[in-house]
């Protein structure tokens, strides 16, 4: 019987069993950001410990950085303090830090892959739930809490419990105007936000094999919204082609050796899965959320469900969601007025996302009264987008072109919704209050659908707004 990638990576990194029955797992790559790390360094200090293998930890600043004016000191002294703490901690412990203006600063889940830090067969941990993003490369990558950040800093290991593996096949060809974001929203809509509890998700099938790396990252990114702490795609030629020549990728003689090793981690054809689910790519529509969790979603040309159409146990949450969103059961999801359009986040702020939107946005204008923001995922993405004329297309259309960071996705910086504003957003969470206003509302969708909503001034079908596939 063959093994899954998850099992192979686990076996290669399991140091020993702990007394509790958990395993001590070695972490190849540790990523840090400013929000979940300062307390960990504090704990380390209290225990009189040092960072054991600083060459395995890399840091950047993303959550709290202002995207409009990055002049220091920031207007928010708390944000400035967090940046200073990270500078101090990384300096003191000899950790590589991609600071503002270094050319490599950006959202931690954008820069890891972009720099070639993220590699197949690795275990990767970061104090951030969207660490699952790195699974796109065939890594076992997951979010951890701050006490565990301390554990990794001090020992490069974690106490961990092995998960089951669910294979999710997407077979066929995605329709024009349908993206990885729609695929993952569709999966979560059908398997539920708790569906992935206890599982790592392995994504495969012809539609996933056909995806480029950045689409695979979007897919793996939102595994956590489906309840799965880990999501991954087996490494293949697409993976290797993406990694070749990146600053931290293996070079020359090591490259062929690395590819051989990486390939060996891919799930065996006869691997045993704890569960298998298959979706037809052709059945996946552009998908948008209507509620307060990412599973409350419908096709853009669909209606919000009637309460009686939902299983009884889902009705109380649906009622709560509709009251919060100011929407009605049975209402079409298309045509809901928006006040904000946000393109950004670790889900969808990579160069290919911006390129795709710019291709269709050219010549269109953001509707008067809509505040539209594009926040590139990293300094490198921003630079490339300027060079390729993408930034100019966004500005020309009426988008504000900002500096890289997490921005409005979780609003720890000055970018936030006001009052009960409704945002069309390419981010990952439509939770109550997520975008910085306790009454603010979020409708999740692909970046192109955000652009369509920005142009229409309301939730809209990008295929209609931009004449795709017609």
């Amino acid at each position: 019987m063959g093994k899954t990638l998850y099992e192979k990576v686990w076996e290669a990194h399991e140091i020993r069993k702990l007394r509790s029955g958990q395993s001590q797992l070695f972490i190849d790559l540790h990523l840090l950001h400013e929000v979940t790390s300062p307390q960990a360094f504090g704990m380390l200090k209290d225990l009189g410990l040092r960072v054991r293998y600083p060459h395995r930890t890399f840091a950047t600043v993303d959550h709290i950085v202002p995207t409009h004016d990055r002049t220091e000191p920031f207007q928010d002294p708390l944000a400035q303090n967090m940046l200073e703490a990270l500078r101090q901690n990384t300096r003191e412990h000899g950790i590589t830090f991609f600071d503002l203006g270094s050319g490599n600063q950006g959202i931690v889940h954008v820069i890891g892959p972009q720099l070639g830090l993220t590699q197949p067969g690795m275990t990767i941990a970061c104090g951030d739930s969207h660490t699952s993003t790195h699974g796109a490369f065939g890594a076992v990558a997951f979010g951890i809490g701050t006490s565990q950040v301390r554990d990794v800093l001090a020992t490069q290991t974690l106490a961990a419990q092995k998960l089951k593996v669910r294979r999710i096949n997407i077979e066929g060809k995605l329709a024009p105007g349908v993206y990885a974001k729609d695929v993952i929203l569709h999966i979560i809509r059908h398997l539920g936000v708790k569906g992935g509890l206890g599982y790592a998700y392995e994504y495969g099938g012809s539609a996933v094999e056909a995806m480029d790396m950045e689409s695979r990252m979007t897919l793996c990114n939102m595994s956590i919204e489906g309840g799965a702490r880990i999501g991954y795609v087996n490494p293949d030629e697409t993976t290797f082609a993406y990694l070749e020549g990146r600053p931290y990728s293996p070079k020359r003689a090591e490259w062929e050796e690395a590819k051989k090793r990486w390939r060996s981690f891919a799930s065996d054809p006869d691997a045993r899965y704890d569960d298998v689910v298959t979706f037809r790519a052709e059945d996946i529509p552009p998908t948008v959320t209507w509620g307060i969790n990412p599973g409350q979603a419908v096709p853009i040309d669909g209606r919000i469900p009637l309460l009686e159409e939902l299983p009884e146990e889902e009705r109380p949450l649906a009622e709560e969601a509709l009251a919060y969103m100011g929407l009605k059961p049975g209402q079409p999801i298309k045509g809901v007025p928006i006040q904000v359009a946000f393109i950004g986040s670790c889900t969808n702020a990579r160069l290919s996302d911006l390129r795709e939107v710019a291709h269709y946005l050219k010549g269109h204008k953001v509707k008067r009264g809509v505040r539209a923001l594009v926040v590139p995922g990293s300094e490198w993405v921003a630079k490339k987008a300027e060079e390729e004329g993408i930034a100019e297309i966004f500005r020309e259309a009426g988008f504000e072109w900002r500096n890289p960071g997490c921005s409005m996705c979780l609003a720890m910086n000055p970018d936030r919704l006001q009052g009960d504003e409704l945002a069309a957003s390419s981010s990952n969470r439509n939770y109550k209050g997520r975008m910085g206003s306790p009454r603010g509302r979020t409708v999740l969708m692909s970046p192109l659908m955000v652009a369509a909503a920005a142009v229409a001034g309301e939730t809209a079908d990008a295929r209609e707004v931009f004449g795709i596939g017609r």
Partner: protein, 201 residues
């Protein structure tokens, strides 16, 4: 020596709602801090207070539940962000244990690692417990991790918790750092053997 959690006794506060995410438990704007101290006051802040800071009706604002040390929740509690600030805020607000139908994994791991037990009950038992606590806020609830049961008002319901977490809590091994450090040279061996990203060329 770490505290050994065998039995947790106290009154319970019923917090209804499925899939309560960590952004609701502790909104992101309260995370611009360098320590976890004082986070307890921001627990469920936007659910408990309006935009002017006036209290809203919420179980945590209800005087009948003041001093409760067990938090009763429904399914999917702690979903979303991996922020340890969420269980830290719960613990620092005075809670010693959570009883629910199910917990998100990262939340569960973070809670266990700071000595905050999260146990689950079968849905029908949880329903009875919710009703009992709502009917009588002074009801004493006992979470017994040794005998794996929850006791209240003369009833006993079997609890579930992953065995490794239960073992860790009962034996005082819930903070793994000491044991992880003991791996010593094994760590160096793995560091030598497994590749890490190097800048070259």
């Amino acid at each position: 020596m770490l505290e050994k959690f065998t039995t947790i006794r106290g009154r319970a506060v019923p917090l209804r709602g499925e899939d309560i995410d960590t952004d609701r438990i502790i909104p992101a704007r309260f995370m611009k801090v360098l320590t976890f101290e004082g986070l307890g006051q921001y627990l469920f802040y936007d659910e408990r207070f309006d935009e002017r800071g006036n209290p809203k009706p919420h179980p945590l604002n209800d005087p009948r539940y003041q001093g409760a040390s067990i938090l009763l929740v429904e399914a999917g509690f702690g979903s979303g962000s991996s922020r340890e600030h969420a269980p830290q805020a719960i613990k620092r607000a005075g809670f010693k244990a959570l009883i629910g139908e199910s917990f998100a994994e990262i939340f569960f791991g973070n809670a266990t690692a700071i000595g905050l037990p999260c146990v689950t009950l079968a849905p029908e038992d949880l329903t009875v417990l919710f009703q009992a606590v709502e009917a009588d806020p002074s009801l004493e609830v006992e979470v017994d991790l040794v005998n794996k049961e929850v006791r209240f008002g003369g009833r006993t319901a079997p609890l579930s918790i992953p065995e490794a977490a239960r073992e860790a809590l009962v034996e005082g091994l819930w903070d793994p750092i000491g044991e992880l450090l003991q791996a010593g040279e094994l760590l160096d061996e793995f560091d030598r053997r497994l590749p890490y990203p190097r800048r070259s060329g």
